[in-house]
């Protein structure tokens, strides 16, 4: 019982009441810089926040290059729309939908089939997008129907399997309708039309960005009101306790299906946007990796929080963009990494302990480097950090030649060390931090920086676990108290 994150002192708290849930936050409010920031954030009305965000977003096309606009702004907006849709299912209604990415894919393929040479159809977007959204909502309904009577866990596995089945289906070149392969097999569908509304073509990234911005605003406003509505309140009741909700005559099954279908149709909309923006659709756009990224977006920001989704989308997309294997920016990756380490040290309270940990890490590194150079020889320490990290050469141990499975042992050692650190408490934990941080840096320079695409997913996975244990409400969500 004492391990529960909600009851650090073992004291039982009963009832789902925001007043109770926020009791500790209220006590800590108004103290220090963080308190002022929090009060400022809370007192700013939501429309003002939205307008500030929109003003910033609308300025992006004027100072970002076309390529940056595509990879940062446009993809972030796409993840934002996806995150908003997932937030309806997971955040509002509390259903774990792991086939979300399949609806995204269905939407993309459907748009691709309606507006490309694949079938020779070139429907305008004002017709095809609503059609696709209705179609994906219907698909969501059918899938949700199969597990409507069941617990959330069954839904999770059915949807996860659905996502996998969709991938297999999209990749096989067997299903043929009207003489043409439906999904184009592993080649996908190429040469998809750009979005066209009433004869107006959206050709450049700039125009597409403004279109996604409009979609986002409309969606956000709509979801805000849905969340405040009768349905929204019923969803929250359902999320907290389906049994109690049913006892209060809330139609649980119908609401679950509504949430599911709404989420699926938003995913379908995002799919249309992806197909049009990318100009092509392949099955690899809808793998589990993408699902994980969308989940990371929603959970980092806070389940059920719309502002949180925005923050999550920006953080996740920008970090994923820099960590993605096709982007060769080792220097930026490195700054992101050491920045995160510094941020971590800054979170240690009180702050002098954080400074002590940092100083200890630097000292430990210098010592370890010297010891390794003395005992194992120069060949172990004379390797160079890849591009631009010269200032690290005397601190991080980088072997000049690869020594068998050295990197693997290093990585496993790091994981074991972190587990050890989590198992001890108090001063021991603090004392273990400098060597672990140093080990993290060594692993980063030797292993992770070279495989940064995998690293991004590793970090997202670890982040999901860590957030769930430490702060399940994410960055901007409100904490909930489980009914006892």
């Amino acid at each position: 019982m004492n391990d529960s994150p909600n009851t650090p002192d073992g004291e039982a708290r009963i009832g789902v009441d925001s007043w109770v849930a926020e009791a500790e936050e209220r006590q800590a409010r108004g103290r220090g810089l963080k308190g002022y920031l929090r009060i400022g954030w809370e007192r700013t009305p939501d429309p003002v926040k939205l307008i500030v965000f929109l003003g910033f977003a609308a300025s992006l096309p004027f100072w970002l290059s076309e390529g940056d606009l595509y990879s940062f702004a446009l993809l972030t907006m796409l993840y934002l729309v996806l995150g908003l849709g997932l937030n309806v299912v997971v955040g509002f209604a509390g259903l774990l939908d792991l086939g979300y990415v399949a609806f995204y894919g269905i939407g993309a393929y459907a748009y691709a089939e309606l507006s490309s040479d694949h079938y020779g159809l070139h429907w305008p977007a004002e017709v095809s997008i609503p059609l696709v959204m209705i179609g994906t909502a219907f698909a969501g309904l059918v899938l949700g129907f199969s597990s409507r009577r069941l617990l959330g866990d069954y839904l999770a596995i059915v949807t996860l399997f659905f996502g996998q089945a969709f991938l297999v289906f999209a990749n096989t070149s067997d299903p043929v309708i009207a003489g043409v392969d439906v999904t184009g097999g592993s080649n996908g569908i190429a040469n998809i039309d750009k979005l066209t509304f009433f004869g107006y073509h959206l050709n450049s990234s700039k125009q597409e960005f403004f279109f996604t911005l409009i979609v986002f605003v409309v969606l956000l406003t709509a979801l805000h009101f849905v969340n405040q509505s009768r349905t929204g309140r019923a969803w929250r009741a359902l999320r907290e306790d389906p049994l109690a909700a049913a006892a209060l005559t809330i139609p649980v099954n119908r609401l679950k299906l509504t949430a599911f279908a709404l989420g699926a149709s938003i995913a379908g909309l995002a799919g249309c946007m992806l197909a049009a923006i990318q100009g092509s659709v392949v099955a690899t756009n809808f793998t589990t990796t993408v699902l994980i990224i969308i989940y990371a977006v929603v959970i980092l920001g806070g389940l059920g929080s719309l502002a949180g989704t925005i923050l999550g989308a920006i953080v996740i997309n920008v970090s994923y963009y820099y960590l993605a294997p096709q982007n060769d920016h080792p220097d930026i990756k490195r700054w992101l990494f050491y920045g995160t380490v510094l941020l971590f040290a800054a979170l240690i309270k009180p702050f002098w302990k954080g400074i002590a940990v940092l100083a200890g890490t630097i000292a430990f590194g210098l010592l370890a480097h010297a010891v390794v150079a003395e005992w194992a020889g120069r060949s172990w320490t004379s390797g160079h950090p890849i591009s631009g990290g010269k200032w690290l050469a005397d601190w991080v141990v980088i072997p000049r030649v690869s020594h068998g499975n050295f990197n693997n042992y290093l990585y496993i050692g790091l994981v074991l060390a972190i587990i050890l650190c989590l198992s001890v408490r108090g001063w021991w934990r603090l004392a273990l931090l400098p060597p672990i941080l140093y080990l993290v840096a060594v692993v980063w320079e030797n292993v992770l920086l070279l495989n940064s695409g995998i690293t991004a997913l590793l970090l997202f996975g670890a982040m999901l676990v860590a957030l769930m244990t430490v702060r399940p409400q994410g960055l901007l969500g409100t904490s909930r108290v489980e009914i006892v």
């Binding site: 866990d153 996975g461 769930m468």
Partner: protein, 334 residues
């Protein structure tokens, strides 16, 4: 679809009875592996009401641990150890390693969330699965590794003893069904493990504590059962079974891959649901059923469709009999 069905009819004609028997044999071997993994799902689900997404990846780790032992003793072509001790050692390492991994996962990813909202441990489990998969990709460079059971223990280009047929059915037909040593080994080990598990759960003191914890954790802890310990042990057993399945699949199919746990985990969970989640005999029956269905689907419809057929079976069970074949209706306690 018409083309697909026509193809099925043609395949049935060409394969005949001996082909069907071969598919059945393969299905049973595959199904016993699914059953071993499904047992882990069903045990963990029974005791914690948690869908352990990471379980499939624990099985993958088991397969790699077995491969590690194989390589440590010289690799398949020049073994420095006899066949029998080697295989025993592989099983021991994979089961022990996977078991410890499962306990660690439970300790750090699930135990802090005992009293959290239902969705929190599920997301945490998803995170663990992602972490394990990508760690494995990092450590193995994303390559496939080969157990090479064809050559295992063989000398001078001769095939090893593992793939020698024990007996052959339909010897005179164009598609004879040969049951090899490895098939017998897998089936007998799986049966032995399952029987051992059933004995442990039903007739031992620990099994009693486990059932009590599954029935009502709070009441069990009030009766003096250390529920955290029981849950840890359950995770150890469940993960050890998955590790054993990992070695078996390595010996049977030859390859290990960092993504192998994902689809296998999905199918094993389907097996657990089809058999009735929470029921140990149900997991065995469900596993065998899924294995046979998948094997027949691959034989008659085409290998690329087997995932979709199994998924269809899952949806069908969800609609018609959500409690599974051997599951009972749980009355929800308030």
């Amino acid at each position: 679809m018409h083309v697909v069905l026509g193809g099925v009819v043609d395949t049935v004609r060409t394969l005949g009875w001996s082909g069907a028997a071969g598919l059945l044999k393969n299905g049973l071997v595959l199904g016993s592996l699914y059953a071993l993994i499904a047992l882990g799902y069903t045990m963990v689900y029974g005791i914690l009401k948690l869908l352990n997404f990471a379980h499939g990846d624990v099985y993958m780790v088991g397969a790699f641990l077995g491969y590690g032992v194989l390589t440590a003793f010289g690799g398949p072509l020049n073994l420095t150890l006899g066949m029998v001790p080697l295989i025993l050692l592989m099983f021991a390492a994979a089961m022990g390693g996977s078991g410890v991994l499962g306990v660690a996962v439970e300790r750090f990813a699930y135990r802090p969330l005992r009293n959290a909202p239902r969705i929190a441990p599920l997301i945490s489990a998803l995170g663990v699965a992602i972490f394990l998969e990508n760690s494995a990709q990092l450590l193995t460079n994303g390559f496939q590794y080969n157990y090479d059971s064809f050559d295992l223990g063989g000398t001078n280009g001769q095939p090893g003893p593992l793939i020698k047929p024990v007996f052959t059915l339909f010897a005179n037909s164009p598609l004879p069904v040969s049951v090899s040593v490895i098939d017998v080994l897998i089936l007998s080990t799986a049966v032995a493990l399952m029987v051992g598990l059933i004995v442990l759960v039903n007739w031992s003191r620990f099994g009693k504590a486990m059932r009590a914890t599954a029935y009502d954790r709070e009441a069990a802890s009030m009766m003096g059962i250390d529920t955290d310990r029981v849950i840890s042990k359950t995770f150890f057993i469940a993960s050890a079974l998955a590790g054993a399945a990992g070695v078996m699949v390595g010996l049977k199919l030859g390859t290990t891959f960092f993504l192998m746990g994902f689809v296998a985990g999905l199918k094993a969970f389907t097996a657990a649901v089809v058999g009735g989640i929470g029921s140990i005999p149900g997991a065995v029956v469900g596993g065998l059923l899924i294995g046979v269905v998948e094997s027949f689907a691959a034989g008659y419809v085409g290998g690329q469709w087997s995932d979709i057929v199994v998924f269809g079976l899952l949806v069908l069970f969800m609609l018609v009999r959500p409690t599974g074949l051997l599951g009972s209706h749980a009355i929800q306690k308030v």
